[in-house]
Amino acid sequence: MSVRVLVPSDSTAKSLGADAVAAAVAEAAPALDVRRTGSRGLYWLEPLVEVETAAGRIGFGPLDVQRARTLFAGGAPSAEHPDCLGLVAELPALKAQARLTMTRAGVVEPLSLAQYEAHGGFLGLRRAQSLTAQEIVAAVTESGLRGRGGAAFPTGVKWRTVLQAEGSQKYIVCNADEGDSGTFADRMVMESDPFLLIEGMRIAGLAVGADRGYIYCRAEYPQAIATLDEAIRLAAAAGHLHGFHLQVREGAGAYICGEETSLLESLEGKRGTVRYRPPLPATAGLFGKPTVVNNVISLATVPVILAQGAEHHRSFGVGRSLGTLTVQLAGNVRRGGLFEVPFGVTLRQVVEDLGGGTASGRPIKAVQAGGPLGAYIPPQHFDTPLDYESFQTIDAMIGHGGLVVFDDRADLGTLARYAFEFCAEESCGKCTPCRVGAVRGVEVVDRIRRGERAVDNRILLKDLCRTMIDGSLCGLGGMAPLPVLSVMEHFAEEL
């Protein structure tokens, strides 16, 4: 049998030349069996090429075409080669992680059902099929899983509401809009382990009695959409969907459509404006029917909870933040990528130890956590543990787990202005504090930065932020002031 070589096909890896590297390997050593996996998320090593050996997979990366040609001339390089990174599973960057959800990403060929099952796929679904709906909901509740899309609402509680809601038609909607800057965990699941999401949605369907599901994926992720479409087709053909009707729907560039009620409007074919609550989507969601809306990572974590038990999931994390967080390290960081860690590790451990500090080698000035609506955190708070409650104490939020690193050249005043600019651009327009407040916010920030009545305008700006926080209909207007306030507090000389 010929030696197997694995080259990632995830979209970041491709953007770094993975396709050309795969072709170069195949050309340099035609006897090798070149396969395309997803990515493990160690993006600073991409394209990371792995070679199967008796001891396990060994890695080489980052490779370009030239290096791939030399390395693979005449066959696969061995572990003794000076460029070899060693066994991939033993890489410190992976050893330091607790991969509960992201176990197959980068390991399997994304569209191979056989490999999915060989690596523990469908165990959770099989377990769920032996349980009652109430028992599935109880397991998810006991696991302590909280929604990973940002709001951290207990998933089991949401599911119980939908289970108990009256209605012959119920829906499972997966929120794959992933609009936050600095985040790509959802994309990784969809591109690298799509059957996992399908399995999670299928289990959710059994738990609440829903036989229809939609994955609302942002249009900016064409490869995720194509991979999911194909995965659904394959899973259905192999009889894994058992009458569960599942479809991918594509967004069209509106950030607000990540907000769950706006997403539902969009799925219904309307403008993505936010709905008043109540009613909650759990009782009157898609087309007015009881609907589970969950983030990709929430749904992708359900199979392991069923397969390995609620206790196992609870054994990770701290306090009320249980399980693991798929941290996405981004921006000006030396080792950017996906790090799945138990809740409770500190920001410093992630950014400095795992991330290795800035890519530029300069001091870190701030980390923005939780996307465009999240606070800029200064180094004096880097010892804060990554858990929902601790982050609240520093007026920050974890959100979807994105951490964007900035070095000392960053202009936080400009970034604060950008937060309002973004909100003005993306506001759905339904409520005044958000629609008008964001525009006024840009103007007031500009005045302060020009030195026009700076003291008065700072008071005005804080007041405006308060109004938006208290009066906005949803989290867009309600949270856009957070990055601004964090800059005013921690980087006062810049705003």
Binding site: S15, Y43, A226, R249, S266, A330, N332, Q368, L415
Partner: protein, 167 residues
């Protein structure tokens, strides 16, 4: 829009008016009308076909779905990725979001506008490039990010940008 396609090169721009349009839209309606919430999939299909959503398709879609023109227009105008006019041969999306800004995104934006001589939303005089902003491409560990005709590019500095556009 499929960001992976939707360039005038592979769209049938010539069909965007006249009887060809009615036929193409009719076929799309026929295929997708029975979906739950069919409007967005239909608009995507029309844009995939023509590279944008031709004005003359709006009444046809409205009629096919029993909606008012205003409703269809309202939906088209809400979503940044739906276009109402033809793009250049190649569409270039530059990420404006924070992770890309942390790696010099603003310098890249300014350079791109200067190199192409257009602002966001514009198309070069030779019809070659349309420049659009985008807020995150999910490639934030390898910023700044650019999407050119559906292909993602990482760590794009001004020099890499010039190579991308072949200038």
């Amino acid at each position: 829009m499929r960001m992976s396609r939707a360039s005038r090169g592979d769209a049938e721009a010539g069909l965007a008016e006249g009887p060809g349009l009615a036929e193409a839209v009719g076929e799309i309606l026929e295929r997708l009308r029975s979906l739950e919430g069919p409007l967005l999939p239909i608009l995507h299909a029309v844009q995939d076909r023509f590279g944008f959503i031709p004005a003359d398709s709006v009444p046809l879609i409205a009629k096919g779905l029993n909606l008012s023109r205003a409703e269809v227009h309202g939906v088209i105008s809400f979503y940044p990725l739906f276009r109402t006019g033809p793009p250049g041969k190649r569409t270039l999306y530059i990420c404006r979001a924070e992770a890309c800004q942390a790696m010099g995104g603003a310098v890249l934006e300014a350079h791109a506008k200067r190199a192409l001589g257009i602002d966001y939303g514009g198309t070069t005089a030779d019809g070659e490039f349309t420049l659009e902003p985008v807020f995150c491409l999910g490639n934030c560990a390898c910023s700044p990010s650019v999407l050119l005709n559906g292909r993602l590019h990482s760590r794009v500095d001004p020099k890499a940008f010039d190579e991308l556009i072949g200038r």
